[in-house]
Subunit: 397 residues, 2 copies
């Protein structure tokens, strides 16, 4: 139906406290790298989707400011926002532009400077991304509190422990220590995690992703153009997208993000994959571990584990590099960092490089199927994007 | 290349001071009408693009909140922002989703409540949408000031007068008085306009568009689906998009918005139209008259008039209903109102109804070619979208 679309270039800035650069400079680090990898020039780009949540920023509408700094004017652009899933939404926007024939080459750019937040603080702002009127304003819930509700319900129902949550943190900090672009560069121990202070019981400091500055970019091209640019394109095989209620009091329960299940099933269906045996088809995944409990929920929402058994994958190290289904070998949001608008694009960058076998040795997955999965959530399941990347060209579209 | 895409339903709220409703309620007025016109149900929609600038709003990430209120969860969505051109950008996003085969039916929703602005004021916020760091912060320029630079340069070079600017206001207020959805419902006289107080010389109160609350929505469908839903689809014939510098000090001059020329030429080229005789091909246009001078610049940027002769069209009433090329028969941003995120979609709604011959009699254009044009600008030409709508199915895509 639409045209095939491939990733032909990727770029990724160092994540962390980036007081050394402003927003356009930070974005440029990723854009420059992506242009160089793709071997294209700014003039070759037809369309740029720009992912940024901002809101706390003094530059409230930064899309054009970044585009201009990067030499991409007079090209077409708009900003895309779907809370913490904005990056994946921007990839969908760029994908659709290429697949529909509106563009031959498009770039998706994500950037966020969260450490420059004035009043209202970034924590308050993110809290408003929940259900503002009812839950944020009346009950003062912010995101650690939202996810603590999920963690509590999950532990109560299935017998998972605080140690199980910390297993996610220890794993992801370990892989971050091997990723030079990550915010946190040192491994942590189980003891450090378990002894860290509570933020919202049962979530402790090391259960939470940090406040991060960072940028990432991917260049997408139509099949015809991709073949000219590279011998190792990574194809966008399918995109699943869904939304869910913003109101936690309206949810069926706190054991699953319903939108994530919906998005996963849509992505699997489009790719002709059977959910029941999905781990057999995927070599490596990046999932939205904004809090450690979120990674465990993701295992189950994606079908990597049965309901109530996600935490057992961790006990058996099945989501480590050499396990059944390696997850967050980049360090994840948890330890690579979570610069909101850049996060989904960072997932695409790392998975592209994983499929092409060119990440650091200690965190390189074994590529058998040639397929990778990105799971990117906005809010507490308000928005869910599941994207499948493949070394082989999709058979049908 | 991509699939054909048609508008199959339109919705438009009353524009004005809408203290009577909150954002989701305001959006629903437009969404409900669009669903009813298209004869579809929420469950039939595959994708929703949501246009909103917000920034001053207590609900900073409203896409999901509106989607949920409108019964559109768990459908796919993201927010689109391109400053005051956000509405047209959302139409492009929905168009690309349908044209690429990612969706069969999509809705583009635009909503803005500008009158609820707390601190920073909406004027300050919009000012930041210019070049924040240099021009807003250092020189205190806000939008009336930006466009006053253009007005001054234009009057100086071509001999246009303040009366010519007021001719735009008088025309657009007249047509707004015939449009029950418009913010301003009474015609004004040349004397009223000329005697109104200066905001930024030579722009007076009646040269400026107002602060507006409002919503608009269009439902788009693939050719196959559109044929089942309606006998009178309006096709999206082509979309031209470009961007330009945010920094006025870097512009070549103040007599044209370069991005608008670029976008127009792209739209004309895709539709196979000759710019030199463009007025022969278009029955009616909506242009971005955020200030009266902007409408005159648009005439020239779009090729409706030669350089320096745009204001003469007004003197000869050639952009009135029965003139050579009727412009802003809805009342335009100037008098229908300018709720930022809704504006581009409001243009699409009114042009669809114009082409279908169903607007109020006194402002109904004569439809000969079956083609309409929307010109939507973000910032002072930072973003430019020119979209052609056609009663006939495009020959080639």
């Amino acid at each position: 139906m639409g045209r095939n679309v491939a990733i032909v270039g990727t770029g990724h800035s160092k994540f962390g406290n980036r007081y050394d650069v402003n927003i356009p400079e930070l974005a440029w680090e990723a854009i420059k790298q992506a242009l160089d990898e793709a071997g294209v020039d700014q003039k070759d780009i037809d369309f740029a989707s720009f992912s940024n949540v901002g809101g706390w920023s003094s530059e409230p509408l930064p899309a054009l400011v970044v585009l201009e700094y990067a030499g991409l004017t007079p090209k077409a652009t708009y900003r895309v926002e779907a809370a913490c899933a904005s990056g994946s939404a921007a990839i969908k926007a760029a994908h659709d532009a290429v697949a529909s024939g509106q563009a031959d080459i498009a770039i998706a750019i994500g950037v966020e400077k969260m450490n420059e937040s004035p009043t209202p603080t970034v924590i308050e702002f993110i809290g408003r991304a929940g259900n503002y009127f009812w839950e944020f304003q009346n009950f003062g819930l912010t995101f650690p509190g939202y996810y603590a509700l999920y963690a509590t319900a999950y532990m109560d129902k299935y017998g998972a422990t605080e140690e199980d949550l910390c297993r996610v943190a220890v794993k992801n900090h370990y892989y971050a220590s091997l990723n030079p672009k990550a915010q946190f560069t040192k491994p942590i121990t189980m003891e450090m995690c378990m002894n860290s202070r509570y933020i919202a019981w049962p979530l402790k400091l090391f259960d939470c992703s940090p406040i991060t500055d960072g940028a990432a970019a991917v260049i997408l091209a139509s099949e015809e153009v991709a073949k000219k640019l590279t011998d190792s394109p990574v194809w966008i095989e399918s995109i699943g997208v869904a939304s869910g209620t913003s109101n936690l009091s309206k949810r069926q329960g706190f054991l699953s993000l319903e939108a994530a299940v919906e998005a996963a099933n849509m992505a699997y269906k489009k790719a002709g994959l059977n959910r029941e045996e999905i781990v057999k088809h995927i070599d490596v995944a990046e999932v939205h571990d904004c809090f450690t409990i979120a990674e465990i929920l993701a295992y189950e929402d994606l079908g990597f584990a049965k309901r109530g058994e996600g935490y057992k994958l961790l006990r058996e190290e099945q989501t480590h590099k050499d396990g059944l289904i390696p997850v967050n070998l980049s360090g994840g949001l948890k330890a690579k960092g979570h610069p909101l608008g850049a996060t989904g694009i960072s997932m695409a960058v790392d998975l592209t490089r994983q499929l092409q076998g060119r990440v650091e040795k200690g965190r390189q997955a074994t590529i058998v199927n040639g397929r990778a999965l990105a799971h990117n959530i906005g809010g507490t399941g308000h928005y869910a994007y599941v994207t499948l990347y493949n070394l082989s060209k999709p058979r049908t579209r």
